[in-house]
């Protein structure tokens, strides 16, 4: 069936809620309204008040109570309306959720999937556009996922819900409706920790995810027209990242460009470049390059200048290829 990203995520939630009655969705306006982006539309009608819960506006309360529900044995899937609003829940996620299994010697675990839309390009300005993935990748005990297409969104969300560890599931809202594609009916998973090579190439490896994967693909097509053959890798799971796929690709091409929306400094690109340097130092033919958001807050009027769109990626590919 042809679905967009919103419909694919909705399909995954519905499928898993039918399969597993421990699964509960909660968040601001996720019930009757169906969520601010309509990702949970129709779930309240099918599953009722007890499994699709409209909560007070309190991200700390949403995640904090979800942790308690998970300790009891449910599998809560809290929605944070925008990733920009996740910081009031940061203490609960970092201090409690991420450390529950470890500090209890493996006896207790709080299994939940925190869903949140990320990224810019929707004229959302400072507080509806951020990409905070590296703040969570840095925290031991969390897994972080960011799909780029409907097929992966459904399969990765099902895998995230069934994974024993807490998962931050970041949904690139710029392509919520723009990304359409064939999605299998029924049950399937896309395994966590596995990247996808979306374009094979010999000259430069491009690492991207989420909405920027599409910009990277456009840039690679542009570069191909100029004789540069890029390999585009969709990381899909950011942590634990598919290190083998990355290293294999970079050893082949000897050159790498990382693309992400978050600010460059201490962004996930920094870790990727470090990992590559440690593992493929002798194969590198050019300095790794990061094409990222700037080290500024996310702008409203100038968001298309801020985002690492294809027009910023192409020069990086050409320079890296010719270094």
């Amino acid at each position: 069936m042809q679905l967009n990203l919103v419909q694919a995520i909705n399909d995954a939630l519905r499928l898993e809620m039918r399969r597993d009655d421990r699964v509960v969705v909660l968040g601001e306006d996720v019930g009757r309204v169906g969520g601010v982006f309509r990702v949970t539309q129709g779930l309240w009608e099918e599953f009722g008040d007890d499994r699709v819960v409209d909560t007070p506006l309190s991200e700390g309360g949403i995640v904090g109570t979800a942790i308690g529900m998970a300790l009891y044995g449910l599998v809560p899937i809290p929605e944070i309306q925008f990733a920009d609003f996740i910081y009031p829940a940061y203490d609960q996620i970092v201090s409690e959720l991420a450390k529950m299994r470890w500090r209890s010697g493996g006896e207790y675990a709080a299994k939940l999937v925190v869903r949140a839309p990320v990224g810019g390009g929707v004229r959302g300005g400072v507080y509806h556009s951020q990409s905070p993935e590296s703040l969570f990748i840095h925290i031991a005990g969390l897994k972080v996922v960011c799909p780029s297409n409907p097929h992966d969104a459904k399969g990765l969300l099902l895998a995230s819900i069934r994974d024993p560890d807490p998962v931050l599931f970041f949904e690139p809202k710029r392509i919520y409706r723009a990304a359409k594609g064939e999605v299998p009916e029924g049950d399937y998973t896309v395994p966590l920790g596995k990247a996808a090579i979306v374009r094979e190439g010999r000259d430069v490896t491009v690492l991207a995810w989420g909405a920027m994967l599409h910009e990277a693909a456009v840039a690679a097509a542009d570069a191909a027209a100029q004789g540069i053959d890029c390999e585009v890798v969709d990381l899909r799971t950011l942590w634990p990242v598919d290190i083998d796929a990355i290293v294999t690709s970079v050893k082949k091409t000897g050159r790498v460009v990382v693309v992400h929306e978050a600010p460059r400094t201490c962004g996930f690109g920094a870790e990727l470049v470090a990992l590559i340097s440690e593992r493929a130092f002798l194969q590198l033919e050019a300095p790794p390059v990061r094409v990222c958001g700037f080290d500024t807050p996310f702008p409203y009027a100038l968001e298309m200048e801020y985002l690492p769109l294809a027009r910023r990626i192409v020069p990086a590919l050409l320079e890296t290829a010719k270094y």
Binding site: S58, G61, G64, S95, M100, R103, E107
Partner: protein, 344 residues
């Protein structure tokens, strides 16, 4: 309503100075339960005294004091049903003892041995006992309040009649998680009993504050105050709150006013343990002989527990990497291999 006129009510008490019970407060204290409450408070005090000594000797890290607060922890834990969850702070190890956590488990925890259920990862004071649904607390102020509300809410969703008991210090009432947790409790009518310990001396200093119990009204919860040094009164108030919660009438915020004791070895007056001792004596359940026997037995048990723990090994370096995730991902496998091989 003139909100300025709102005052927290005077704390409820049950134990009188002569050891008798206020009949209006308590008609449900069996002889067996009275003795058990008393004995558990003594165990908690003796245990803390030993931990304080070990701290002075440098054998154990700092331990959040619980002396003077035993009646609140033991009385509240004793009021709950076995299927209920307990979310303690680092000062409520007595609640875990009531639920059956053995002294040896606490000793291994305090010394951080490889027999500690928490594998020596948390500093002393945060005991958990999964077999009896005592949750694993962090030392952060109030973060466990929404957890308790969520667990209670889940119990109701699952149509069981389990409830959750959560302890916290009065300091936590200034934090966001207190508000978030109690707001969710009011909105969801989750069966939760929230016990806030207020230090009676600190309360006297905060003359501008109107107490904690009055805040319950704003959340749609029932609010009540109890003498937190009176184990029987705590038992009664928490039992009533638990019954209301299980009956679907919503949660209760209980403010337990306690007088912490700085030096557990020296005791204090009034001491919650002495007050309960007067009661078991007045009922003819106790004697000087039993008192001497209890203390010597408890001290010997504590000594043996710590001797065993002291003989246990530290966790191995490799265990550091376990339980971060359910399975070991590649980066932790790599770091474990590096440290095992003596690399940086």
């Amino acid at each position: 309503m003139d909100t300025l006129a709102l005052r927290s009510p005077p704390p409820l008490g049950a134990l009188r100075d002569d050891g008798s019970l206020d009949p209006s407060q308590c008609a449900m204290l069996s002889e067996e339960l009275a003795v058990a409450l008393y004995e558990h408070m003594v165990v908690a005090r003796a245990l803390e005294g030993r931990v304080a000594e070990l701290n002075l000797e440098g054998a154990a890290s700092h331990h959040a004091g619980a002396a003077g607060r035993e009646a609140t922890a033991v009385g509240a834990a004793a009021a709950m049903s076995d299927a209920d969850w307990i979310f303690p702070t680092t000062r409520e190890f007595a609640a875990a003892l009531w639920r059956g956590m053995p002294l040896s488990a606490y000793a291994h925890h305090v010394l951080g041995t490889d027999c500690d259920a928490g594998k020596g990862r948390s500093a002393p004071g945060a005991p958990f006992w999964k077999a009896a649904r005592v949750a694993c607390a962090s030392p952060l102020a109030g973060t466990q309040i929404p957890h308790a509300v969520g667990a209670a809410w889940a119990a109701r969703m699952c149509a069981t009649d389990a409830a959750a008991l959560v302890f916290f210090d009065e300091e936590a009432t200034r934090c966001g998680d207190f508000h978030a947790g109690l707001n969710f409790a009011g909105v969801t009518r989750a069966p939760v009993v929230a016990v806030c310990r207020t230090d009676s001396a600190a309360e006297a200093r905060h003359t501008g504050r109107k107490g904690v119990a009055v805040q319950a009204t704003a959340y749609g919860l029932r609010g009540t105050r109890v003498d937190g040094g009176d184990v029987v009164a705590v038992l009664g108030v928490v039992r009533e709150a638990r019954l209301r919660a299980a009956a679907g009438l919503g949660g209760t915020l209980i403010e337990a006013v306690v007088a912490p004791i700085a030096d557990p070895a020296a005791g204090a007056d009034p001491d919650p343990i002495t007050r309960m001792r007067r009661h078991v004596e007045a009922r003819g359940l106790w004697s000087d002989e039993r008192e001497r026997h209890l203390w010597s037995e408890v001290r010997a048990d504590v000594e043996q527990a710590f001797a065993q723990a002291a003989a246990a090994r530290q966790p191995t370096r490799e265990t550091l990497f376990d339980d971060v995730y359910a399975d070991l991902p590649w980066h932790l496998r790599e770091q474990r291999a590096e440290t095992s091989a003596g690399r940086y």
